[in-house]
């Protein structure tokens, strides 16, 4: 993990190798555990590991989980809807990235 000490605190780049347990992810995005479990079932998040206590989420899951939480709370979208919205947002992001490679 990439860590840099400065002003006596540690900075990690979340997306580089940082892995979160279910508990850590819930705390980092302020979501209830049941909600995160539902997201895993619906494919919003895909952790490594079989049982929930073995789950490890990649750093990139944090952004997804935070997005999922806003969509759930602010727009009252249900879990399958959140999964669909996130897939579509990924697709838009990929298309935008492709646009940036051409003039």
């Amino acid at each position: 993990m990439m860590s840099i000490m400065n002003h006596d605190h540690t900075i990690d780049i979340v997306e580089e190798e940082l892995q979160l347990t279910l508990d850590q992810l819930c705390r980092a995005c302020r979501a209830h555990e049941e909600l995160v479990r539902v997201w895993v079932v619906e494919g919003v998040l895909t952790p490594i590991g079989a049982a929930p206590h073995e789950w490890r989420f990649t750093g990139a899951s944090l952004r997804r989980a935070r997005l999922a939480l806003t969509l759930t709370r602010e727009l009252e979208i249900n879990a399958p809807g959140v999964a669909l919205a996130l897939d579509l947002m990924d697709e838009i992001a990929a298309l935008k990235a492709r646009l940036r490679t051409v003039t």
Binding site: N6, H9, G59, L75, T101
Partner: protein, 316 residues
Amino acid sequence: MKFQDYYQTLGVARDASPEDIKRAYRKLARKYHPDVSKEPDAEARFKQIGEASEVLQDPEKRAAYDAVGAQQAGGSGDFQPPPGWDTGFEFSGRGDEGFDAQDHSDFFEALFGRAARGMGAQRRAMHMPGQDHHAKVLIDLEDAYRGAQRSISLRVPVLDAEGRGVLQERTLAINIPKGIREGQHLRLAGQGGPGLGDAPAGDLFLEIEFNTHRLYRVVGRDVYVDLPLAPWEAALGASVAVPTPDGEVELTIPPGSAAGRKLRLKGKGIPGSPAGDLYAVLTIALPPAGSDMAKHAYAALKAAAPDFDPRASLKG
């Protein structure tokens, strides 16, 4: 302090039903959701809409707001809540859902108390880990090439001596590491909300965003720049200077290069292991046929390429 017309923010009448308010909020929330919206001020608007709906969808808060709003009627500009205005109202809050306490306007805080919501939930438990905080940091692409120092101001809710929630301002100096990419998060362990009792403090998460650059477009680790060429440079080959965030680089243009061709400068993208690449995307700029000499040159080119059909691809 400016009076906030929450009804105007949501575009509803003062006597709108709860259903009307909810519907108006949903519509605007979809339009201005910062993760979805293309509007330039989406994030600010989304916060205003959220705050307006938080007040108007809560019967207690709406009643209190209406009481203050009646006194404000017709007036505009500076607003101060009348002393003791809130006697008789008790805000139970909606728990920890919804907006961060930091997101509220001064107007909201004057009416409903600072950071009232987050703290209410925390007071119940004696030992509770601090909340993780999230913020965005805007940097330039050049900062990702070299690393950068940034000072970040945070307003953090803390409990004062009497147990009331107040917002405390604090500044944090952080080093943005070289090689950071857009959308990545920095985690500053223990720099989030303070824990209660013996519990540890939360972490601070900073999402990295790049300012739009005049020249460069960024895709992950790779950087793209448009490189205009004269027709003879593209046709005959040339050596031209290409700007990169790390300074100019000489690039050899092979003869017969077409517009749209991408020439790769390996390792000249965002540094790291592996480093990204920099792509020069070729465009062709035509010199104007302003002088007789230029006109003759174009005519000579036409004569030299009698079989050239620029629209060959349009034919079936």
